[in-house]
């Protein structure tokens, strides 16, 4: 790969101070460090460092989402590909523009947002809406707060929330049935005007009308819904991988799913005819996807381990409450946004308690 290094070396001067393209230094740096590990060495103790860096950390999320990508592709067709491309291109443009304006580095966090965003959208959403949504999410949800690491809200959820409020018809009234027999919809390009793509309600909508979609169908993903979230098994596969690699914290996931299951279970026990059982609620809609991939975003969730429990409980409880007692059929999106709002407060309280304990311990 020496030739690539030589090319980089040759074009570097034009990106450096005084060069013609110096404004695009962040882009050059990002390219260089994408291809070649940085040349930096440690300057002070500790003299060695862990091999994990942010690039690797973010790549882990991409790997973890592969099963869901595959099921999205299988059940809803290859329209997924242009959606991902649009999401990356539009969101990436915002990220690069801000890096150039701020003269800062391009952060890898966007690679995850761009990949997760199409997976939480309805399969037939117009491509321009995908672009608008991701631009809004990255711009308002992240860059306005100062970029990756300083954002309060999960950018992908902010984008989706914007779309849901701005284009409610496209976002909640236009669900495509999943391809049921081999080879799914893998060979189809499904749009809202496709004759073949029958519009059907999602399991949560049907549940409001008193009809429960079978648990096995939801486990496999053979239902309608947002692209990546329908297949519980694929989400769990990727999510467990994330937890095992310690990229996602198990406390968040366990507390979200646990509190949601307990609350849904209580409701179901009280009025079995009106409320769906706990296990059904876990697999329905985007609860699993949100718990494993969205809520575990380290930046927007509380830092402290104790705080993660409270955060998870807030999300789990609010989700079940919204699903069962409001006009909305799905509440994960709002629950996570509310959890994001609460996260800094939770952290504040937990660290206060911990610091007080530290002070007492040391006299």
């Amino acid at each position: 790969m020496k030739f690539l290094l030589d090319i980089l070396k040759a074009v570097r001067p034009s990106f450096e101070a005084g060069g013609r393209l110096r404004a695009f230094k962040p882009v050059f740096d990002a390219m260089e460090n994408f291809f070649f590990a940085p040349a930096a060495v440690t300057l002070a103790a500790p003299h060695v460092r862990d091999p994990l860096d942010i690039k690797r950390l973010m790549s882990m999320v991409i790997i973890a989402v592969l099963p869901s990508l595959f099921t999205a592709f299988y059940f809803f067709g290859w329209r997924l590909v242009p959606m991902i491309i649009v999401s990356y291109a539009a969101g990436g443009a915002v990220e690069v523009a801000f890096a150039v304006i701020r003269k800062d580095q391009i952060n890898e966090g966007f690679l995850v947002t761009g990949m997760l965003f199409p997976l939480i959208l309805p399969p037939t959403l117009p491509l321009w809406m995908v672009g608008v949504g991701v631009v809004f999410g990255v711009f308002v949800g992240k860059e306005l707060f100062g970029g990756t690491g300083r954002n309060i809200f999960n950018p992908a959820i902010v984008g989706r929330c914007f779309l849901a409020l701005a284009y409610p018809a496209a976002m909640s009234g236009n669900w495509t049935s999943a391809g049921s027999s081999w080879p799914g919809r893998m060979l189809e390009y499904v749009t809202s005007s496709n004759v073949d793509a029958v519009s059907t309600a999602t399991p949560l909508v049907l549940a409001k009308q008193g009809e429960l979609v079978s648990f096995w169908k939801m486990l496999l993903g053979n239902t309608s819904g947002s692209m990546g979230e329908t297949s519980a098994i694929a989400v769990i596969l990727g999510g467990v991988f994330l937890i095992l690699t310690r990229v996602a914290n198990w406390r968040t996931v366990v507390s979200i799913l646990g509190s949601a299951a307990v609350l849904a279970g209580i409701f179901h026990y009280g009025q079995p005819d009106r409320f769906a059982p706990a296990l059904w609620h876990l697999c329905a809609g985007s609860l699993l996807f949100g718990a494993f991939f969205m809520a575990t975003d380290p930046v927007t969730s509380p830092v402290t381990n104790a705080g993660k429990w409270f955060y998870g409980i807030i999300i789990g409880v609010i989700t079940v409450l919204i699903r069962n007692f409001t006009g909305y059929v799905e509440g994960v999106m709002f629950a996570i946004l509310l959890g994001n709002i609460a996260a800094p407060i939770i952290d504040e309280v937990v660290t206060k308690v911990r610091l007080r304990r530290l002070r007492l311990e040391e006299g």
Binding site: V41, D50, D53, I54, R56, L57, T245, N249
Partner: protein
Amino acid sequence: MEFRGGYNILLQGKPDRLTEVLPEPEILYLPLCSRRFEFTEMLVREGQRVKGGDVLSRDPDNYAVPLLAPRAGIVRLNVVKGHIVLEDISKTEFAYTERGELGHIVRQMGEAGIKRHKLLELGAWQFFYDAYTGALPDPLGPAQAVIISTLSLEPFVARGDAQLQERLLDFTRGLEHLQSLLEYQPMYLVMPDISSDFASQVRRQIRGYARAELIEIPLKYPYDNSNILVRHLHLKKNDGPVWFVRTEGVLAIDRALTLSKPCLSRIVSLGGPGVRMPIHMKVIPGYPIEAIRTRCVSPGAVRMLNGGILTGVPAGPETLGLDTECRGLTVLAEHGEREFLGFVRPGWDRSSYAACFLSSLRAKFSERFTTAMRGEGRPCVSCNFCEEVCPAGIMPYLLHKYLYGDLIEEVELARVDLCIECGLCSFVCPSKIDLTRQFVEAKRLIEREKEEIRREQLKQAELRLAEEARRKAAKEAEY
């Protein structure tokens, strides 16, 4: 306090248990600076012939701790900057004679005072540390307790077990001597396994002579740190200083008090991926580093560290010899080649705190670390790894956030003073933030500010007193 955090970095090139005696050097370069000491009070002249054990210099700020001549030879003061050079060296040893002017110490402290003075003069006191500050404790001052650690968990510094080989008798005798320095204060002997054969042997040997409580700690870095140990033992800072001694210190006490001989040689580990044969070596201070380098270090660009990889300091080309406090030399290869698409590689050969590499599927192994940063600096993503590994129980990410906002008061309230500078938070940080260094700087800043406030208060008090005295005098003059 329960132990928490901690993480063992498995580095290639662990020094062997056996100790090798290095050949006698022809010339010695004694550095005048080491971690704690700065020998500025020169007691020899250029060209003077000294005997082994003679005092070459002293550190006036550290209870006049002496720099002893490890061998007989001719002193050269002006040849190398920051070093005393000993030429034409030979092995004649000097015998300690008790000097006359110790009457005041005897009056103050009795026999124990003489012994403590002897430890200082024979170079054994250097092995004592204040458990809270790491500084040299007052040789004639009190101690509330003594902690003796047989462990060295940082990769790599000289390990206790390498030094205890066949020297158990000396060790237990050293413990008895240590006991005789104290009155009733407790001694804690820290060991990895207190039910082992070795531990019961120690227990049998010291029974009746020394009263040491055996403390078992897990073999996890940095649980052997003196600050962690005092917290673990619930010792309070206000009850007085705690002495901290390692195996080599106890052996030095034995040598000084049993044989009345100066402690001239020490056991130093030589390890790390850049070393051909990782060993423990018995050397004298001032031993030329170049000789060790040509003998044991693989060719190529390396970084030589005085100490371990987590807390050591680079032994740059300006340091020519081992200093008197060196416990280990660790050699790392300098980072050279830039890996193509490094971050997507499976990583069979990288061991990480998080299981993000394929290597987490294989058994524990020692990695060939280099000095590479292994990533670009990024803003904190709040992954919480730093808090998980922190043995002191503080919150590094929070301190970092406060420091980023220049909130120095909050930093102080968040107990940055508990940071033991073990380096683990910097090591695990995926955003490659130099947390440890930031905390060291913050601690220094806070210390300086406190000092200034103290001085200001003192000045105010003095002014007040002077004002009162003046008023009094004026009043008296009126009458």
